[in-house]
């Protein structure tokens, strides 16, 4: 019998979208100085969701000054115990309003509601809850008896996990005693603005959190502003490089969380059904818009055929479509620009001779969509094995020995994450020692936790977010 799932849409009514949003500066929503604005669209339908203010350099300046004032007058002098309570408050409000935030995240980003609901939002709340507890324990964090905050943090975040990246940035910064000016990505500003409302609801003192919306120019004005003490950026390696240049010779402390091209290594003794789930989760989670995505599958030649067969069968079960449908596995590509990039690299994969496969899959007419895709017959020389695609596209390579797997896995300028699938414990530890990657998932993939440091080797950036390590980037150590 064919079992067709009827549509199961999550209700949009929980979200109260305003037609337009200003900048959040010094505790208030304000109009930008030059009145510029841009539209945020739903990538699943191309419907305009809201008009959002575009911050110019004067607006950024205003925000940095507000943050400075709050740092000097309120947040810096405030006892850690009280900072903690504000952060706990924020964590609780996020939990209470999590459905609203999840729906808005899926609307603005295109990610499936089951992910925003079951992954993003619980992690966001947990992150605030975790760092809240650090605020009054900094002398015990291992950075000396009296570690000091840096001052004003400029934070620029990407569009793939808008609210989660906001949490990764704001929670440790505030816990350590800094104030922040955060710029969300231009395609996904809405949950950050809802977060600004939550700051108001929590009675967070004005100027501690400032949100400036805009595109690259706004971000540049922010990180180059002489009044900031700290720059934290998550995004592409290319932009990360430019930021590293721009802070050269300044006092600004920098953390970068950049691109990746992770190897997911499957041995012949792997728990194969879980490995296939891990491969799918590794590359198709969040439409592959994941810096630590397992975008290179390295499978031992002796089981390559069997693993691929299982993988294809599993991929045929993936449900692509309406992000708000509770049964959707793969939602919309975040933007037309990103879709073009994925198409370009996939076409390059075909042109370079790799074999392309996607399951039969009907894509909606409007919006930005890309079917889950794998390329077999890929070699290290192919562009699709070297460049970050940031989409639901997996390159499959094979290896024969553990040493060859390590060599291929490390043969990239990136070093963010890696996966290992084998039932042999000593092999896991042998491999984990040799993989040049900041996060190694063995017999699992794409797991995150506020207590667990995350960040890359090599051109995947520097500094760690999460855990005790995540405080270091916001303290004067």
């Amino acid at each position: 019998m064919n079992f067709e799932y009827a549509p199961a849409p999550e209700s949009r009514s929980v979200v109260d979208l305003k037609p337009s949003y200003g900048l959040f500066v010094d505790g208030k929503f304000v109009d930008p100085t030059d009145g510029g604005s841009f539209k945020s669209v739903n990538p699943a339908s191309e419907e305009v969701l809201a008009e959002v203010a575009e911050a110019g350099s004067q607006d950024v300046d205003r925000a940095v000054h507000a943050a400075r004032k709050a740092y000097e007058k309120v947040w810096g002098p405030m006892p850690g115990r009280d900072r903690a309570k504000y952060l706990f408050r924020i964590a609780r409000i996020i939990q209470e309003r999590s459905r609203e935030l999840a729906v808005l995240e899926s609307l603005d980003n295109g990610k499936p509601i089951k992910e925003s609901r079951d992954v993003d939002l619980p992690l966001v709340a947990a992150h605030f809850f975790y760092y809240a507890g650090w605020a009054d324990k900094l002398p015990h964090a291992g950075f000396g008896p009296d570690p000091q905050p840096l001052g004003v943090a400029a934070q620029v975040i990407p569009w793939n996990f808008p609210l989660l990246m906001l949490a990764w940035k704001i929670a440790p910064a505030l816990a350590a005693g800094n104030t922040v000016v955060l710029k969300p990505a231009e395609t996904t500003p809405l949950t950050a603005l809802l977060f600004a409302e939550i700051c108001q609801q929590a009675d967070l003192p004005a100027g501690v959190v400032n949100i400036v919306t805009g595109a690259g120019d706004t971000g540049r004005a922010l990180v180059e502003h002489p009044g900031v003490d700290k720059v934290a950026f998550t995004g592409s390696t290319e932009v990360g490089r430019a930021i590293a240049r721009s802070v050269a010779g300044t006092r600004k402390k920098l953390t970068l969380e950049l691109g990746g091209k992770a190897a997911n290594i499957v041995f012949d003794d792997a728990p194969v059904d879980q490995a296939v789930e891990g491969i799918v989760n590794g590359i198709f989670f969040n439409q592959g818009h994941v810096c630590c995505a397992g975008s290179r599958l390295l499978v031992q030649e002796s089981v390559a055929e069997q693993v691929l067969e299982s993988l294809k069968r599993r991929m045929a079960r993936l449900r692509v479509g309406d992000p708000l449908d509770k049964n959707t596995d793969i939602g919309a590509i975040n933007s037309a620009a990103q879709l073009a990039r994925i198409r370009e690299l996939s076409d390059a994969g075909s042109a370079e001779g790799a074999e392309r496969w996607s399951p039969p899959c009907e894509l909606p007419e409007r919006g930005f969509w890309f079917a889950p895709t794998i390329f077999t017959g890929v070699t290290q020389a192919h562009r699709i094995a070297r460049e970050e695609i940031f989409g639901p596209v997996l390159s499959v390579l094979t290896f024969r020995t553990p040493a060859e797997a390590v060599e291929k896995a490390n043969n990239t300028p990136y070093g963010l994450s890696a996966g290992i699938w084998t039932d042999k414990g000593s092999r896991i530890l042998w491999l984990a020692d040799r993989l040049r990657a900041g996060v190694v998932w063995a017999n699992t993939f794409n797991k995150f936790d506020p207590t667990s440091p995350f960040g890359g080797y090599k051109e995947s950036g520097y500094g760690r977010e999460g855990g005790r390590h995540g405080l270091e980037g916001y303290l004067n150590v």
């Binding site: 728990p271 059904d273 891990g278 017999n443």
Partner: protein, 319 residues
Amino acid sequence: MTATATSARSDLSELGRSETALRTFLHGLPGVDQVGAEQRAAQLGTRSIKTTAKAQAIDLAIRMVDLTTLEGADTPGKVRALAAKALRPDPADPSCPHVGAVCVYPAMVPHVAEVLAGSGVHLASVATAFPSGQAPLEVKLADTRAAVAAGADEIDMVINRGAFLAGRYSEVYDEIVATKSACGDAHLKVILETGELATYDNVRRASWLAMLAGGDFIKTSTGKVPVAATLPVTLVMLEAVRDFRAATGRQVGVKPAGGIKTTKDAIKYLVMVNETVGADWLDPDWFRFGASSLLNDLLMQRTKLTTGVYSGPDYFTLD
């Protein structure tokens, strides 16, 4: 899958002849990571099945129920009433399908057979010294033959878990082969009693062992030990029947039994079947629920979908 296992598959029918070959094969099956398997099962459990899909699932689930009573207090009257309910689960609604089978102890089989004759509802009986399986083989086989002779067309046997856990795979295998032979034309469901096997690796091995020995169905549990059917155990068994068909061409059914009480639970299982093995198994010939109280919840939900009003237990028979 290791190379050993792959080559061993080339002649799976030979495996039962040698303890060593059987062990090598079963231990060469891919491992199951507990956390990963449980997460996959939990994820499938978040599927939202609504409206038309729910109606479709409920009717299918009713047709898949092995309506079961396995009590010391069972009497001819009680099992006849149960059989009557199996035929017409919702007397008020003739469009309601009948269940898949009635499942009783061997002594009760003749009473049920009278009621079910010619109905298309199968008659299953738990034989082989259910639920412990702790009896001499000859007793178990006699138990089986008696049940079949009395009219059972499905036999639910229990494996010898003690022998399995002690690594005496041939002994378990031979018992299944002998029981299958004693069944004649009746279908053999092999109860693994997964709650006693303790690990998913064991569940996968026992599944393969039962299939290699000729079982037509693999079933999770007797319902008589604390841990009965679970979603992850059923997932591992579904993966096993999927892989077994790929290797041998023979399709084997799966029956979770025990602890499945609500429509919501049943639908999670159907989603799992759908997304693990697909439409070929979405049929009472290939998937069953061993359950008793599940049926009434399915009927209540069915009525709700038809009438739009939530029903109550007073409106459904207690048999």
